[in-house]
Each structure stands twice: as structure tokens, then as C-alpha cells.
């Protein structure tokens, strides 16, 4: 027992491996948020009048909103006026190729293991790298363009495809949805935009790396993905952030729209700086992610691997509006030290014969608390809706917490809803068995954990799955430093 506790101690206290800061001059707005700040951001980005008005609507909603109180942790006092709402690396000139990108920035990507080069093409990945709110480089656009696929930064979409942005922005997550979504609407900096035309199967995984860098800069990303009739797209979002002493707010909004027969797969690996072992620093991650299966037989699938952030508050959800539509939510959430995670999903069944599946795997270590919160709603017209939920928790040590808050609300008698839940501790017997085969404690725990999350990891695209496994190993092993 003594030994086991010692091991858990080491694992729980391991340091964040990706903590480093890149020193690049930033063009930064003074702290605070008001109508002038919003006008500044909008003007800086040369936005049309309608978008500025929409931002201001978001700001008004933000002013009216209260902080949520239902989550299973004490909400920190966030001083929204102490945050700077805009920062961008100073552009030297318009960049055409990687050679022109700041070498220091490239080095940062290198450290993160993000090969922003031709290898990605071979691997079938196009990368739109977002660095401190502004897109630095976008690759393989030409290839996608041939197919009529639009994959660009949000600002660019506003300029080039205003009709699409205007039509769909805020159609899934309204500007008044919650305080963080309102804040994002008011002050969003940049993000990604994807449009897949009718009947087109996007031939490569689309991926974007987000990164917070400038100190005290909140990051407010906005992502909008529209899959037109019969199309398919797989989108990857991954992020790591440098270490910080002060808390940073991250309030992203992601909207997915799947038309008839379309399918969107959205995968996330989230590894923002979680704070040190005493819980000092770390990112506050308040994210609103929602998709709508708008047309018949459409599909949306969320897969997330959440290892970072001091606080994670996110519920990637799906509105199943089209008949026969399907939605999935696969999640691994790891918390250690004093991390807090309150995450899960909402499946809103509105159409007939709609199906949803929820697989959630929580892993808690140290003094952390890990909560699953899920809502399955079946509306009066959703005949024969079906949901399956499996919700497992794994505890490492005896000072952490795992909590489950499943909500089921059904207004239709034909619904079938299944819920399974387990809570287990990593078995001493399992660790010893692996020890006896020459595998040390750290590797043993990594093996057991990777086995435990396999159902979720298998949902990730191959390349991402390998990264995610490494990330889990790094997160849980004491091997760092």
C-alpha cells in the first residue's frame, strides 16, 4: 500500500510538459471590455456592419447574463475587465510560405510536435494553424478548393463568404445562450470556418491547432462547420498551451450544421495548461460546442480527450432535429492535482427514429474532481428515439472525486433509453501482474489507462489516436522532468 500511494503521489504530481513561452511581440489591446473595445476589434478586422451589430448584441446579452451556478465546483471570480480581448503577433508582411514564418514560432510548433510542412500532406492532413488568434499559415487550400471545400480562418470567411457566415453564425449557439457564449460573440478574435458542398467527401482530416500565448489574453475562438447535403468531413482540433502563473480564460464557441445525409466528425485533444500541483495558474476552459443534425439521416459525432485546463466546463451537444439522424459523444477526461472538470453532453432528440450514443470515461487522480453531466432529452414528436449511455469513472488514489450527473427528460412514451455506469479503482492486482512481467509502475498504469479508454481512442483518426495515447501517458506518468 505504501508503495502504491507513493506511486500515485508521483503520478498525481507530475509537471506539465508543454509549459514554455514563445517570445513574440504582440499587438495587444488594453485590458477591459466595453463597446469601444468591441468596435476596435471589429474595425481592426475590417468587419461589415452586420457583424459589429451582432457582436454588440452579444455584448448586451453578456451584460444581462449571470454566471452559471449548477456546476459541481466553486466558480472562481473572473474579472472580465482584467482581461485583454485582443492580441496578435505583429505581422511583418503577408506570408506565402513557411520560410517566411517567424523561426521562433516554427520552433514552438516543433516543440509541440506539430510538423507544419509537407509531411502533413503525405499524412493527409491540412493544417490551419491559429497562433494567438490570427491565422499564420494555411496549407493545402488549393487542393480543397478544387472540390469546392472552403476551409479558412473565420475572419477570412467573413470577407469571402459573408452570406454563409451571416446565415449560420449563431444559428446553433445563440448569442444569448450562456454568459461565455455571449462573451465570445462580443469579443471573438478568430477561428475556423469550414463548408463542404453537396455530395462532397472531404478527402483529408481538417485540423487546426489553437494556442494561447500572450500573457493575460483571453482567447475567444469561433468555429463554424457546415456540411451540406450528403457530404462528409472529419475535423480535428488539438491544443497545448504554455505555462502561466495567472489564470487565463478560454471561451470558445463551436457550431456544427449537418444537412440531410451529411456527416460531421469532430475530434478534440485538449491539453491547455492545467496549473501547477497546488492548482496555481492554469486555463479556465469554458466552451460551448453544439451541433445540429438538421436534415434527415444526418450524423454528428463528437470525440474529446480532455487532459488539460484548471477548469474544464464543456458539453458538446447535438440537436437531433432531422428524422433518422444519429449523434455520438465519446469522451475521455483526465484530471489530476487540483484540476476540476465538469463535462458531458446534451442529446436533444426532436426528430423521429433519432439515435444517440454517449460513452464517457473519466479518470481522476490527485486531489482533482471529475464530473460527468449529461442530459438526454426526448421531445413529444421524437417517436422511437433511442439513447445508450455508458459512463465510467476510474480513480487513482483516494483523495480525488468522480461524480456523475445524468439527467433524462422524456416526453414520448416510445423512447428507449439505457444508462450504464461504473466506478472503479486501478487494481493493485493489475499493477502487480504487469510488474511481474517486467513492466514498472508508471508504464503499468499507462497501459491500464490506455486499455480503459480504448473505446474512445478508437474513435479518433489514427494519427490523432497515437498523439492522444502519448498525451494520456504523459499526463498520468510521473516520468516527466
Amino acid at each position: 500500500m505504501e508503495k502504491e500511494n507513493q506511486l500515485l503521489e508521483e503520478i498525481a504530481n507530475s509537471e506539465y510538459e508543454y509549459g514554455f513561452v514563445t517570445n513574440i511581440e504582440t499587438d495587444k489591446l488594453p485590458e477591459g471590455l466595453n463597446e469601444d473595445t468591441i468596435r476596435f476589434i471589429s474595425a481592426k478586422k475590417q468587419e461589415p456592419e452586420w457583424l459589429l451589430e451582432y457582436r454588440l448584441k452579444g455584448y448586451q446579452a453578456f451584460l444581462r447574463s449571470k454566471m452559471p451556478e449548477w456546476q459541481n465546483f466553486k466558480m472562481p471570480d473572473i474579472d472580465f475587465q482584467a482581461i485583454s480581448y485582443y492580441a496578435e503577433p505583429k505581422p511583418k508582411k503577408q506570408l506565402q510560405s513557411l520560410d517566411e514564418v517567424d523561426p521562433e514560432l516554427l520552433e514552438t510548433f516543433e516543440k509541440l510536435g506539430i510538423p507544419l510542412n509537407e509531411q502533413k500532406l503525405l499524412a493527409g492532413v491540412a493544417v490551419d494553424a491559429v497562433f494567438d488568434s490570427v491565422s499564420i499559415a494555411t496549407t493545402y487550400k488549393g487542393k480543397l478548393k478544387e472540390l469546392g471545400i472552403i476551409f479558412c480562418s473565420f475572419s477570412e470567411a467573413v470577407k469571402e463568404h459573408p452570406e454563409l457566415v451571416k446565415k449560420y453564425m449563431g444559428s446553433v449557439v445563440p448569442h444569448s445562450d450562456n454568459i461565455f457564449a455571449s462573451l465570445n460573440t462580443a469579443a471573438f478574435s478568430d477561428g475556423s470556418f469550414v463548408y463542404i458542398p453537396k455530395g462532397v467527401r472531404c478527402p483529408m482530416e481538417l485540423s487546426t491547432y489553437f494556442r494561447i500565448n500572450a500573457q493575460n489574453t483571453g482567447q475567444f475562438e469561433r468555429t463554424l462547420i457546415i456540411a451540406d447535403e450528403g457530404s462528409y468531413v472529419s475535423y480535428l482540433e488539438g491544443c497545448t498551451a504554455p505555462r502561466r502563473d495567472e489564470n487565463q480564460l478560454h471561451a470558445a464557441v463551436v457550431e456544427l450544421i449537418a444537412m440531410e445525409g451529411a456527416e460531421i466528425k469532430y475530434s478534440t485533444v485538449q491539453n491547455w495548461y492545467p496549473g501547477d500541483k497546488d492548482g496555481k495558474g492554469g486555463i479556465y476552459n469554458f466552451v460551448t460546442k453544439r451541433g445540429i443534425c438538421k436534415g434527415r439521416k444526418s450524423r454528428i459525432s463528437w470525440t474529446q480527450v480532455e487532459t488539460g485546463s484548471a477548469i474544464t466546463w464543456k458539453y458538446p451537444s447535438v440537436i437531433l432535429q432531422g428524422d433518422d439522424s444519429e449523434a455520438e459523444f465519446y469522451s475521455v477526461a483526465v484530471t489530476k492535482n487540483k484540476q476540476l472538470a465538469d463535462t458531458g453532453t446534451k442529446m436533444m432528440h426532436l426528430g423521429k427514429n433519432t439515435k444517440s450514443r454517449i460513452i464517457s470515461k473519466g479518470i481522476s487522480a490527485g486531489h482533482s474532481h471529475n464530473s460527468y453531466r449529461g442530459l438526454v432529452y426526448v421531445g413529444p414528436k421524437a417517436d422511437y428515439a433511442r439513447n445508450f449511455t455508458q459512463c465510467d469513472s476510474l480513480l487513482l488514489g483516494d483523495r480525488c472525486g468522480a461524480h456523475t450527473f445524468p439527467y433524462i427528460e422524456t416526453k414520448n412514451k416510445t423512447a428507449t433509453i439505457e444508462h450504464e455506469a461504473t466506478t472503479s479503482k486501478i487494481g493493485e492486482d493489475q499493477v502487480f501482474y504487469l510488474n511481474q512481467r517486467g513492466i514498472d509502475d508508471e508504464k503499468a498504469v499507462a497501459l491500464i489507462v490506455n486499455g480503459y479508454v480504448r473505446d474512445v481512442i478508437n474513435q479518433l483518426p489514427m494519427e490523432f489516436a497515437v498523439e492522444a495515447q502519448k498525451l494520456l501517458a504523459i499526463s498520468l506518468e510521473g516520468s516527466v522532468g
Binding site: 510488474n435 517486467g438 497501459l447 480503459y452 480504448r454
Partner: protein, 253 residues
Amino acid sequence: MLSIKNLQAQVEDKQILKGLNLTINPGEVHAIMGPNGSGKSSLASVLAGRDAYEVTGGEVEFYGKDLLELSPEDRAREGLFLAFQYPVEIPGVSNINFLKTAMNEIRAYKGLEPLDAKSFLKLSKEKQQLVEFDAKLVNRCLNEGFSGGEKKRNEIFQLAMLEPRLAILDETDSGLDIDALRIVANGVNALRSKDNAFVVITHYQRLLDYIVPDFVHVLFDGKIIKSGTKVLALELEEKGYDWLKESVHAPIV
């Protein structure tokens, strides 16, 4: 290779081993028999380094090293293998990946490069045949949903792959039908060599018809109370343990 002197150990303040002596040389097969609760499986656990067991006295030397000073994984890397009485299930971890990890950890300890995928698969195929292990089980998750017999056979497959210098088989025969028993025994016999040794812990003489031991020891109340050859096992089969117990408990006047 292994020398156990006056070994004493306890679990939660209960003395289990009370001064056990045993010497094993390369090429030998030792059978350890004894009634329930005599300490047979405890001996296996203590040698493998299970945390719950506290060694309170005595010494164990393995190839000149103080075994008791080594961590469980280092004991394994030194070539001590325990075929578990109750192998655990580890859901989601593939049998083959687990074995590859184990093998490369052991190789790294010896300063060897990891085995490349091709050689590893080749070796795995050879060993599967040697111990008649079902290829389907190789790719399943570690013992997950395996029958009792399949789990035991997986232990022997692992033994074949890891090629330890000393293998302890803890009641590997329990729960096996006669065909599985034969397959397991054939596997062990195929792996016997002049360089390695086996300790076979069993309740039944039956197994010893297949794996013929060089020595048979009777463990009772935490000590070896009698040693002999295969003949001893036959004698036990016939007479039970009581005649030996009586000799131990004979009142001292």
C-alpha cells in the same frame, strides 16, 4: 541459481512462512506440495515481491543478487517468472501489445535493443505453436473474457515468450481439464532446458505424471517438512498429508 535460507514472512501480522529453506539449480524441476493454507502460494508471492507480504527474516539469493532488495519488475527482468494461480483481466489492453511491452522492458534491462515488429511476430508464432496457444487469443485483450483454462494457457504462452531463468507455476493445473493439463505440461516440457529451472506448486500428483520433477517438497505450516523424489509425490497421493503432519506435531517431551 536460487537459494532460500530461513525465509520468514507475514501478511497483516499473520506469520505465513516460518523459516523456509530451499536451493534450486539450473536444469532442475522442483514440485512443492502441501495441504491448503500451508504457505505454497505465499511462497510464490513473496518471491515475486507482492506488496502485501512482509519479509520478517531470512534471505533469498538469485544468481548472486539479494532478491528481496529488488523491485517486483526487476525480479522479473532478472528472469523470475510467476505463472499466476488467478491471472487478472486487464480490459482494453491487447495481449500482444502487453507482451511486446514486457519483452522490450526486459530487453532494455539487459541492455538490448527492442525487438523489431517482424522478429517479434515471428517469435510469437513459433511460441504459439510450441505451447499450442490459440492465435485468436493472442490478439484479444489481456485475459478479458478468457475461460479459466485459457488464462492458464496464456500464462504458459507468456512464459514461452519471456524465457525466464526460473519459472514458478502456482497451481497452474487447478481448474484445467485433462486435455488442457496435457497441453500445459507439454508446453512446460518443451521449454525445459539445462539452463532454466521450474518450481511447480500443485495439489495433485496428476500434474507430476506429465511434468516429471527432480525433487518433491512438502510444505506445511510455513516450512518444508519433507523432501524427496517423485516417489514422495506418489506416496502422498496414497497416504495424504496426515502422517507427515503428525510427525511435525509430535509432542516434545
